[in-house]
Symmetry: C2
Subunit: 356 residues, 2 copies
């Protein structure tokens, strides 16, 4: 494995006030960089001060979106230790995204070492306040300076981090979701299961429209029949119907979320039945109308668990659980965040210590 060269900053950045910090706006002192080209493979692993990099405007990433990313967090426990939550899941998923986008994978051990080393260098950036964490954004971009659509010969792998508070500054209150009936995010055979920029770029217009109408996020339907539920803007989604948990199966156009997977494992360990399957929007609307839809929540790294208070499809709005947070939603949030911050025993061995 390559050595990681470390160049420490001489001009430390101002740390944000963790009570008011906005998600993804304040970056830590350092970033990890590593270059790839087809001749030399991955090389020049280094940690350098966070700052701008000169980019030629003909760089492929600006034109053909050969770009993938991941998102995970480092947590500080009450004892002051720093830990990651299932980083190997993100590492593996990034390799899958790379495959879909014709990009090279990063060696798994190297990737984990890069994460740990960067967080050790920026240890003081892992916040202590309750509900805060260090958000970690590994990503890879195509850097060939060339027009003409082709797989780039060269890539930059980068990890940046930022201390974040709770994703929803107002606390975990139930959100209003708009079921999108026009725009489509992904389709089987497309890039839906990959964490590539294009999926998110395609989602922005619908997100803007929903926000203007007072919704928090959009729920996507499948691209083929536009009747099966796929995922929410930045989350997977789960439904509790008559005591049982239902969630869309990983069909190729749904992102295989790490929080989704962890929630399923936790719920099953608690004795809940969890069914991964094709779920039509009509079925969910009917369950809601009949009073059988007890809870709805989203799962994602940024917000962990997000209760859904209402869902709007075309002209119909269905309030879920009286607009309050459900019992399983709350238990999942407490269970997962408890493991992440080290207040609940990690029976699954999901956390990985960063401190040496």
């Amino acid at each position: 494995m390559q050595d990681i060269r470390i160049e420490r900053t001489t001009q430390p950045r101002q740390k944000p006030d963790m009570a008011t910090v906005r998600f993804g706006r304040s970056f830590s002192d350092h970033m990890f960089l590593m270059n790839y080209d087809s001749k030399n493979g991955w090389h020049d692993a280094r940690i350098v001060p966070y700052g701008p990099i000169p980019m030629e405007m003909a760089s492929m990433v600006f034109h053909y979106a050969q770009e993938i990313f991941e998102g995970l967090k480092a947590y500080r426990t009450a004892a002051g230790k720093i830990q990651l939550f299932r980083p190997e899941e993100n590492i593996r998923r990034m390799a899958q995204s790379a495959d879909r986008m014709g990009m090279p994978a990063v060696d798994e051990d190297m990737f984990l070492e890069a994460l740990k080393t960067l967080i050790r260098v920026d240890e003081s950036w892992v916040p202590e306040m309750k509900e805060t964490s260090l958000y970690i954004r590994p990503f890879m971009i195509a850097t060939d300076v060339a027009l003409g659509v082709h797989a780039s010969d060269s890539y930059l792998f980068c990890i940046i981090t930022c201390p974040v508070g709770s994703y929803y500054p107002e606390g975990i209150n139930p959100v209003k979701i708009l079921i999108e009936s026009e725009d489509v995010r992904a389709v089987r055979g497309g890039t839906g299961y990959a964490k590539c920029g294009g999926n998110y770029g395609a989602s922005i217009r619908a997100g803007v429209k929903a926000t203007r109408q007072g919704f928090s996020q959009v729920l996507w339907l499948d691209g083929v029949e536009r009747k099966y539920i796929e995922e929410v803007g930045a989350m997977n989604i789960m439904f509790k119907i008559e005591g049982k948990i239902h969630t869309p199966a990983l069909n190729g156009s749904v992102l295989p979320g790490v929080t989704r997977k962890s929630s399923i494992e936790l719920l099953r360990a608690w004795g809940y039945e969890v069914v991964e399957r094709q779920i039509s929007v009509e079925e969910i609307l009917e369950a809601a109308r009949d009073g059988k839809l007890e809870e709805v929540w989203g799962t994602g790294t940024a917000a962990v668990i997000t209760p859904v208070g209402s869902m709007t499809y075309k002209d119909e709005t269905l309030v879920i659980g009286g607009g309050k947070i459900g019992e399983v939603t709350r238990r999942l949030y407490d269970g997962l965040t408890g493991i992440q911050w080290g207040t609940v025993e990690d029976l699954f061995h999901w956390t990985v210590p960063v401190s040496k």
Copy 2:
């Protein structure tokens, strides 16, 4: 309309040998830049030396692919004049792409003025040799330094140019096309009609696979039923069957090509019947088997008209027109490039002079 500030280079770049230049690898001396933010709108229109721009690694374009582009060319006529081909079509399409991606449009007059001014400044970069031109790449990227999926508040609009020879260095020989049956490029409701990076990023893996197997490009089928023909990697596609021309209709997942539109108008002016409709791959295979498929060609800015010599679908390869360039294909190529280089009278008023 804003004034365009011009800062000329003091270190002119080396011009490439036009006999051997590779497509999209050698950039002209200058580039056009203009910034947008929601408070000031578009501002600071300027032409500066081509060169790298410092970019923060948290810039939105690297993560969520909020990026769109266009491609057009400037041609030098035998009389030494420089002209553009239907630039207003590209300007209008870029506004449509911007709308789909939640990005601001550039004022049409400003856009055209930027194109003309930049090409005048880099006039000496418009090559003279036969079959050469100046390829022009306008594009827009999201520049907010912020993670969290949202519409960026700030954007950079940029135009870079590069002198290019013929897209196929070996001349316009018929290419071999692979009909892709696994990966999907776009779906209705998605971004297929927009010229956004994500569409191209999604296409790269299939392109690599096809190239390895000796094919030139991939032909995409629709994302819903995977049986209707949409477009080829960098081109729209047309079929001549028993004297009539057929091409996939603009259904929302097909790029509305400027060369496609111009070809249809030219063909109709010549008395050909052109039908825009849904075309199944089975129908084309059958026409080929029955000897009714007379010609197949692609239309696109980079290569203008590309004859298709064979199409391979799963295990079947169908040779078209004995693998030779068809009569209409040749006539279209000569007709369009004749107008572009000013050797054929521009009856449609498609060309726009750049010289004052």
